[in-house]
Symmetry: C2
Subunit: 300 residues, 2 copies
Amino acid sequence: MRIERVAIIGLGLLGSSIALALRERAPGIATSGFDANPKVRARAEELELVSEMCESPATAVADADLVVLCVPVGVMRDAALAIADALPEGAIVSDVGSSKQSVAKALAEALPGRHVIPAHPVAGTEESGPEAGFATLFVGRWCILTPPGDCDEEALEALSNFWAGLGAKVEIMDAAHHDLVLAVTSHIPHLIAFTIVGTASDLEEVTRSEVIKYSAGGFRDFTRIAASDPVMWRDVFLNNREAVLEMLGRFTEDLTALQRAIRSGDGETLHDLFARTRAIRRQVIEEGQDQSTPDFGRSH
Amino acid sequence: MRIERVAIIGLGLLGSSIALALRERAPGIATSGFDANPKVRARAEELELVSEMCESPATAVADADLVVLCVPVGVMRDAALAIADALPEGAIVSDVGSSKQSVAKALAEALPGRHVIPAHPVAGTEESGPEAGFATLFVGRWCILTPPGDCDEEALEALSNFWAGLGAKVEIMDAAHHDLVLAVTSHIPHLIAFTIVGTASDLEEVTRSEVIKYSAGGFRDFTRIAASDPVMWRDVFLNNREAVLEMLGRFTEDLTALQRAIRSGDGETLHDLFARTRAIRRQVIEEGQDQSTPDFGRSH
């Protein structure tokens, strides 16, 4: 099974990055694209993101070997229904959504009997839209595939090769486990960042101007994540509800324990934790998941 | 009042950065230094951080116009007592600690009748030690001075000029207000980061290896802050207890509200918050407190 024509549905940060990565790394693959927003379609056409910009999802997928749905997880079902009738026999349908059980269910129901293989490239920035994409977004990042139990082996291999071709490292995982892992490595960090930025901007005793002036004390790091796409993240929390609530419970327990340590002046508990977390940073860098330059290499 | 000789007590990230900034931007100012750790003293000497490395804090401050205590806030009192007898008449004593009410009290009690002006440059990285410093750390960052009510105006002006000379923007603030502002812009963000990194590394269902592999989903940002100096941060939480607990209460309330929104499927509440927080990021960048390049300018 060879992938020679890829349809990208949704041309935001992820969709446009796939398009640019294909153009740079696999120029032999033809690309078609669609976005539900006419402004995004027009901008994507100006940027020449895909070989063929289409006015409907059905047109975009008509000759595709692989369709990648790059839309918020809350509209995956609608996006799948919109291509169902036009989808060629044997084409693979995948996605880039951050929750996988809900997407697997939505796609399987909308596209019965098709080669559905949900996927999640763990990569992104805080920017959105067709101008935010860049060809190297997936290089050295993990892409997690969550194939159903009856998945066609050739289709799985073809999709794995596709992501490897974009520079990603590919991992196969059970969808439920994916949702638990990403709840802790991505969803809870985002929820916390959104929360503290909201808390800080609502205070009466401290002005918003002060919060921004002194944000270099740590707060500014959180503002980056909290600038991520609102619709995408709303959908992630609503579609990975159970895992998020489970992990949030653990976080809150641990935070309450630290609160008690602070209140009671228990410096040992604080120091023990802070010394442990330092080691995690070193491992993240050793595993190539972040740069080693201090302060994210910010210019000073 | 002219500052011609500066004593730096404690040669970690902040102390060594002050030394390097002085060497680069004010080479006419003589510097002396001391660190309680003999290894740090030896390394600082190799790096030629100060004009004169001393074997005791008393020797270091003997001829100083300004003494800057760059030690964890929990040992400010001891550091002040150690210089009390040797401190020249009229010298200014300041610091770089992240909590100001506790430091103001400790220094005032240890050095009665002296020119004590607590200060806090809101700048740093996750690194520690004499090798972590760099000359441009304070450029464009705010340095908050919290002078006591009876502060000598000339001394205050001299200290303001000192920090401006290192590239910082100077602000005068009441110590209690400082502690509230920094609780939200720095202390709570650190506490949350330490907590989530601890939570993630203690899970049974998700391995530590998985947490690290998929950390690019957001978690890796938190590991940077959670790699900050354990002793420094233990002392901050113990010494700014009330403001930290107050702000932590606000954060927890807001997090609980979002938890309820997720549980009840209230997408509107989530979206409303996420759309608001995006604007804060823009303001942080507009105010020059972070770079505008996506993903902190990480190379992709």
